[in-house]
Symmetry: C2
Subunit: 259 residues, 2 copies
DNA sequence: CAGTGGTCTAGACCACCAC
DNA sequence: TGGTGGTCTAGACCACTGC
């Protein structure tokens, strides 16, 4: 099989070998891998060792297991999320949520899990400049592409500024999405920040996003500011890492002076 | 405890339990966990099961193993990388590379692995608008905080525009770093883009960054553009995911119209 | 030397799926 | 009912560490 055997674990080598076969098309996109028992037999190792290799492939998003059925090669391309343009898209149709997925000719679906008035989580209150537990309007949703979950997104708005707007309490927030409603209320977002981290998913996220315990997710804290640096929305995105590429761009700030 | 409890694997529960103990300070930061054999004994499971739990803690960056010694609780805080400000920092001292680490009162070190003239990798050539394999100046380096590797960074410059500048061939590129040298040459960067993905590290990265096969890394493709959208640098960062928070901010673009 | 984690095995039982 | 992956065990050998 391999010419030179590096001092590497068998399961590591097997993972590499399987990746190679996927690249070469021995196991085409969307097709099932041979069963772990077969692979163990072919490669002359125990099933546990094969399973450990497959665990790596799952963590990297190269394969996906369907329980009771088999292990399948991933068929999704990475989705590009252009931070700047996705929000600019509100000048056209609906909100930012579904822009990227449609570009890939995939069917985009949004499922709302909660829309209503709730006390804000501590960190959210802090960012929005509210008292701890102060009322916020929350919109919690899950987005899908061709039926597969691609992200969870929880938006929080200070209740004091959105209470007069009923459309934010409906699933369809109307033309241009929630940011257009904020604009209607006199709080048009003019500046955004995003903090990006990677971590492993918790139990709820594993279930909602159909992930394993060792598949990393992006966590993005998106904050929208209106005129006068007034924070008007916090949106927390949780997205399977293997599915996304995040794009950012900005102009140099040297002219404005250091801060 | 929980209202509805999903049936969960023992190793998953053990991972949760260990995380709890770390949070509560039962195992303080920097201290060693009990050995896997002890834990197996205490928890009434096999050592393999404990090991699988520890594997999860390693993937999330909560613990770090020292071979032959034991498993230690991780003590590093996350490092904030503010994309905009780090480059603005060149107006003061050295380049962007060490800004963040110093903020945390950690010792920052840079080790150069290669500085010289090389044929550009395909994707780099494409971004820089060069012929495939065209000459570039490469600066490949590894950054450390308190002796621990925090990122690999490989910068590529079109050879045609930097060949006249010797300081870019030295480790210390001079006051303000390489971007100031580009400015000297008449190619001051005015715009940047970054594409961010997460993936598992390859063999070389595992070794250089002291990572396990299942610890995710950020891969950032940073591109600097001079006036007239002329690409003048591509820098590829590979950074342990558990160590970093990436921050971006930008102004709304609606006024400029959609693209 | 003894203790640590790294790895591998053979065998076992389970839940899930399609037929 | 048979095939799939999910999990767990007891036992084993190894490389590495510090003493």
């Amino acid at each position: 099989m391999a010419a030179i055997e590096a001092p590497k674990s068998q399961y590591g080598q097997i993972a590499d070998e399987l990746r190679k076969r996927i690249e070469r098309g021995v196991y085409p996109l969307g097709s099932p891998l041979p069963s772990e028992l077969r692979l163990a037999d072919e490669l002359g190792v125990s099933r546990v060792t094969v399973n450990k290799a497959v665990t790596l492939l799952r963590a990297s998003g190269d394969v996906k297991v369907r329980r009771g059925l088999g292990t399948y090669v991933r068929s999704f391309p990475r989705i590009m999320r252009d931070a700047k343009r996705r929000y600019a898209a509100r000048s056209l149709g609906t909100g930012a949520g579904e822009v990227e997925v449609r570009k890939l000719n995939l069917t985009s679906t949004t499922k709302y899990r909660e829309i209503g008035r709730v006390g804000s989580p501590e960190r959210v209150a802090q960012i929005l400049g509210l008292r701890k537990g102060a009322d916020t309007l929350v919109r919690r949703r899950v987005l899908y592409a061709d039926g597969e979950p691609t992200q969870m997104a929880d938006s929080y708005f200070p209740w004091t500024i959105v209470k007069g707007d009923g459309s934010l309490l409906r699933e369809d927030a109307g033309k241009g999405g929630s940011y257009s409603r904020l604009a209607d209320l006199g709080y048009a977002p003019v500046r955004f920040t995003e903090d990006v981290t990677v971590r492993l998913p918790n139990d709820a996220e594993q279930q909602t996003l159909q992930l394993d315990a060792n598949q990393p997710v992006f966590e993005i804290w998106h904050v929208a500011y209106a005129e006068g640096d007034r924070p008007v929305e916090v949106c927390i995105h949780v997205m399977p890492g293997a599915l996304w590429t995040l794009r950012y761009d900005w102009d140099d700030d040297l002219a404005a002076g250091p801060s």
